[in-house]
């Protein structure tokens, strides 16, 4: 428990939401599938505590970035709540991704080439 907490703490705030939105952009899904998707896509590098998805989903719902609907899953024949990205959600995601890219770029510029130069 302590361990998984540490990992989820290591994700920066908003990262989980971004990943959820990106997954939902590809296709609507319910919670369980979303987790599987994120874990597979990350080659299990990000071991997201599965439950932490739900508070994040609630935040997205509240911000009207996603919407949800109860349906019967065709695969398991179970009643599931399927989440779908909204138009606002898509816009928000794009903005977040470009912000994230810029941030990553910045971080890399600080860490990357400079470190190489100094070592050589």
């Amino acid at each position: 428990m302590e361990n998984s907490k540490n990992i989820s703490r290591d994700l920066f705030p908003g990262a989980l939401e971004m990943m959820i939105l990106e997954s939902l952009r590809r296709q609507p899904a319910h919670g369980y599938v979303l987790v599987q998707h994120i874990q597979q896509r990350s080659n299990n590098l990000l071991e997201v505590e599965e439950g932490s998805l739900y508070p994040a989903l609630q935040r997205l719902l509240k911000a009207k970035l996603v919407k949800a609907e109860w349906t019967i899953s065709s695969a398991t024949n179970r009643r599931v709540r399927v989440y779908e990205i909204t138009k606002n959600g898509s816009l928000h995601l794009e903005k977040e991704i470009s912000r994230f890219d810029r941030m990553l770029e910045g971080i890399q510029m600080v860490l990357g080439p400079k470190r190489g130069e100094m070592n050589s």
Binding site: M1, Y32, G51, P55, R81
Partner: protein, 893 residues
């Protein structure tokens, strides 16, 4: 969904969330069963592990829809309230402790704030300056408590020539007779020059303020009323403006009324009368006026000092002490301005008292908090199992800590709310108690600032005493163990924090008790001081002033006074009567002058001596014994015989002994005839018991000297010795006696000497009372603390006691074991407390009289009292331990 809709649909949403999570877990379980071929139960476990803390995560998800945790706090609050309701004994104890602790602090803070912190009730009051002078060159002037007051000529010189003041003026408080209304009465008067009202900056409530035109000698005779006098005498009638009243036989026109609460510096008055000085008749001397001024914006007191220092030579150039006198004679006095802010003047020495009281009351609150923390610790300990279970079920540590803190903050705030009530009551009591020399007492109130203070200390104390159990039970991991709930005898470590709290309590209580003890000793010392008069409770004093418009001739004035004294003496039950310009301890300034003693050669000036004018029989009425020689008789007085009586300390200083003084001669000026010393009287503490007795020259009630001619003081205090002193019937008869001499003479400020005497002790008795209350509370709380800790230890160790008894321990030994542990804690507390008291008592130095801050008696007695109290407090629960039946104790489990 609107926020309203969200609230109504929240329950559904929470249900959906639960369903969703369950579906997730189910799907995960099935997948694990499928992929890893595990039985259902194990797969379910794995799914739960992967999911994380389900309870916590669901709570977090729900929180998304709530208002930033407010609601979960509200829920906790509801829970805390319910829990408090369920244990009324605990709740009432805690709330009472806090209400008293916080209430006392709020009350004292309100006083400190109103008296010390708030600006004076005048606009831009930080510009106001009180004008006192220093005159290091004037021998004997050091006897004045505040410095040299101003003379009228100084007022003219300063106000005409200064560059630093917007306005300045002088004033003096006096009594005046108002006649022509219902019956003659003596009223409190403030005489003012132009500039006083302008300086204070308060506009009149009705009519107009006194102006420069009202100060023209022989100009319009104007007067202003105070709000109180206006209401009392004229029922607040606005048509009073323009009416005339007769003040000291002078008809004066009422031009305005000052608003409610307006005082001249710290002086309540009935009427404001213009001085109307004639500038060209003023001499250099006459230093008896109080000065105040308003600085120009940006000017400082040092600048004002320098500015006025520059005008002092101008003053000496412009005025003289009469033809032929040396107008630069005062150069020798080295007069320099010693101005200070008006607030310093008003607040005076009461600051040190109030800060000491505030400090001690603060300590009481700390002790109270420690007690409450102790109770909360016990309570949290009892809840340990519950808390452990909740932690095991997934409650976050922060959540549990928040709940504990919320409970204690709630207690703090409830205590604070009750405390406000306590404070309001305490303040009312305090104002009724009215310590005479507490300045600005009319301004004391429970205002928004005090309420804010109460709120802050309530919250602070709540968090303070709540933090200890919260830290112990929620934030440290070791505590959260289910096994601990079943231990038989509490471990040493478990008691440690409570023991530390008790030690702290004992130490703080000791400090307060030492302070209170020092005040008690001070009070004792003061009571032992011989004031120079006897049996104060059978000595009635009253004032009668004879205006010159009623009786012009000085000799006649004394005849009237003599008549009054005779009439007073014939009142049944009166054994002796005398009168004097000032009676002891009334706080009235002394007259003074240089006194030349025959046969002495002075380098420069002879020392300044205080004096008093007295009638024959005054000393007898007062009970002040003559040590040598004899009293004046009326023959001496009326024949203006140059005789004088001196105080014992003056006689010793000038001639070595009382008897040696008899027959020696003295005078006020080289041009004056000699006065022969005919008597020496015991020293009288004119300025209060805690001040040394001044050296005094007693002139007869009628005196002749070159510059005043035949002079008799017109305002005299009569001292009437009677067993009936202080009764209304005696007062009525005395009043009738005065009126039988002249119907328009009012009787003013009738008081017994006991009242005057007690008033002079007011500061000490006030401090004593406050410290006494604080110390008593500290002692009580300390005892409760020790009692609580030992009782709890006994109840926790019942089983251990049983085993000990079964193994042969004697009851006495067991009792001793618990008493010993209490005494151990007390001992440590006493040692720490003594160290603190050594440091703290020094701060009280200015409040003590005849007692060292390290008074050995106080420092010896208080630890004994505390130790005895602690022994008693631990003996009761220890006896309970000894009474345990070992069979029952062992059966408990």
């Amino acid at each position: 969904m609107s926020w309203l809709g969200r609230i109504f649909h929240r329950r559904d949403m929470y249900d959906e969330l639960g369903e969703e999570v369950q579906a997730h877990l189910e799907e995960k379980t099935e997948q694990i069963m499928r992929l890893e071929n595990l039985p259902r139960a194990e797969a379910r476990q794995a799914a739960l592990r992967a999911f994380g803390n389900q309870t916590l995560l669901e709570e977090r998800s729900r929180e998304v829809w709530q208002w930033s945790r407010l609601e979960s706090i509200l829920a906790d609050l509801k829970f805390a309230l319910r829990r408090l309701r369920r244990s009324p004994g605990f709740t009432i104890t805690v709330l009472l402790t806090l209400a008293i602790g916080i209430g006392a602090n709020t009350a004292v803070f309100s006083v400190v704030r109103s008296v010390l912190l708030k600006p004076l009730p005048y606009p831009d009051s930080d510009q106001l300056v009180s004008l006192w002078l220093n005159a290091p060159g004037a021998a004997g002037l050091a006897n004045f408590q505040k410095g040299l007051p101003l003379s009228a000529s100084m007022y003219f010189a300063f106000s005409e020539n200064n560059r630093t003041f917007q306005s300045l003026g002088v004033w003096i408080a006096q009594k005046a007779n108002v006649t022509g209304l219902a019956r003659p009465e003596e009223v409190n008067t403030v005489l003012v020059t132009d500039g006083i009202l302008e300086t204070l900056g308060i506009p009149p409530l009705a009519g107009r303020a006194l102006t420069a035109a009202d100060q023209i000698p022989n100009g319009p005779k104007s007067i202003m009323l105070s709000y109180g006098y206006w209401q009392r005498r004229f029922g607040g009638d606005h048509s009073v403006i323009g009416r005339t009243i007769i003040v000291d036989s002078q008809t004066r026109t009422i031009v305005g009324v000052m608003p409610r609460g307006f005082r001249v510096v710290d002086h309540d008055f009935d009427i404001l009368v213009p001085f109307a000085f004639e500038r060209n008749k003023q001499q250099l001397a006459g230093f008896g006026l109080q000065g105040i001024g308003r600085l120009k914006p940006g000017m400082t007191i040092p600048e004002a000092n320098a500015d006025i220092a520059r005008t002092i030579p101008i003053w000496m150039d412009s005025f003289s002490n009469g033809p032929g006198s040396d107008s630069h004679w005062y150069v020798k006095w080295k007069i320099t301005p010693d101005f200070h802010s008006l607030k310093t003047e008003v607040v005076g020495s009461v600051g040190s008292v109030l800060w000491v009281v505030m400090g001690t009351i603060g300590i009481v609150l700390l002790i109270a908090c420690v007690n409450v923390a102790n109770l909360l610790l016990v309570r949290a300990e009892a809840r340990q199992l519950e808390l452990s279970i909740r932690a095991a079920l997934g409650a976050g540590r922060g959540r549990i800590a928040r709940e504990l803190l919320l409970e204690s903050a709630l207690l703090g705030l409830l205590g604070g709310a009750l405390g406000t009530g306590v404070a309001a009551a305490a303040l009312r009591f305090l104002v009724v108690l009215g310590p005479a020399n507490l300045p600005r007492i009319s301004e004391i109130s429970l205002d928004a600032g005090s309420i804010l203070f109460t709120f802050s200390i309530s919250l602070f104390s709540g968090l303070f005493f709540g933090a200890i159990p919260a830290w112990k039970y929620a934030l440290t991991r070791t505590r959260v163990s289910l096994g601990a709930a079943r231990t038989v005898s509490a471990g040493r470590e478990r008691h440690r924090s409570r023991n530390i709290l008790v030690v702290a309590q004992v130490a703080m209580a000791l400090v307060l008790l030492v302070c209170a003890m020092l005040m008690i000793r001070t009070f004792q010392q003061l009571r032992m001081v011989d004031p120079g008069f006897t049996d104060a409770s059978s000595l009635q004093t009253l004032h009668v002033a004879i205006p010159d418009s009623l009786v012009a001739d000085s000799r006649m004035v004394v005849h009237v006074q003599n008549n009054i004294a005779d009439k007073l003496a014939s009142v049944p039950g009166v054994t002796s009567v005398g009168f004097a310009q000032t009676v002891p301890m009334e706080g009235v300034g002394h007259g003074w002058n240089l006194i030349y003693v025959e046969g002495k050669i002075y380098q420069g000036d002879p020392p300044i001596r205080f004096y008093n004018y007295i009638s024959p029989g005054y000393f007898q009425a007062l009970g002040t014994s003559l040590i040598a020689g004899h009293d004046f008789d009326w023959n001496d007085v009326y024949n203006l015989l140059p005789k004088v009586i001196v105080s014992e300390n003056l006689a010793r200083e000038e001639w070595g002994s009382a008897s040696a003084a008899i027959g020696k001669r003295m005078r006020e000026a080289p041009s004056e005839p000699w006065f022969q010393v005919i008597g020496v009287v015991r020293d009288v503490r004119y300025d209060g018991v805690d001040q040394g007795a001044p050296a005094i020259v007693y002139w007869p009630a009628l005196i002749k000297n070159p510059w005043m001619g035949t002079f008799a003081p017109r305002s005299m205090a009569f001292a009437v010795r009677s067993k009936r002193a202080g009764t209304q019937t005696l007062l009525n008869e005395l009043q009738q006696a005065v009126w039988s001499v002249n119907g328009s003479l009012p009787v003013a400020s009738p008081r017994t000497m006991q009242e005057i005497y007690s008033k002079s002790l007011a500061r000490t008795s006030f401090t004593l009372l406050m410290l006494g209350i604080a110390a008593a509370m500290a002692l009580a709380l300390g005892i409760i603390g020790i009692y609580g800790v030992i009782s709890y230890a006994v109840s926790q160790r019942t089983r251990e006691i049983g085993i000990r008894m079964a193994l042969g321990a004697k009851k006495g030994e067991l009792r001793l074991m618990f008493v010993r542990s209490a005494m151990m804690l007390t001992g440590i507390g006493i040692v720490i407390g003594l160290g603190a008291a050594f440091a703290v008592s020094r701060l009280m130095r200015t409040l003590l009289f005849g007692v060292s801050p390290l008074d050995p008696i106080s420092f010896a007695v208080v630890p004994l009292i505390l130790a005895a109290a602690a022994a008693l407090a631990s003996f009761l629960p220890a006896s309970r331990a000894a009474a345990v039946n070992p069979v029952d104790a062992l059966k408990v489990e």
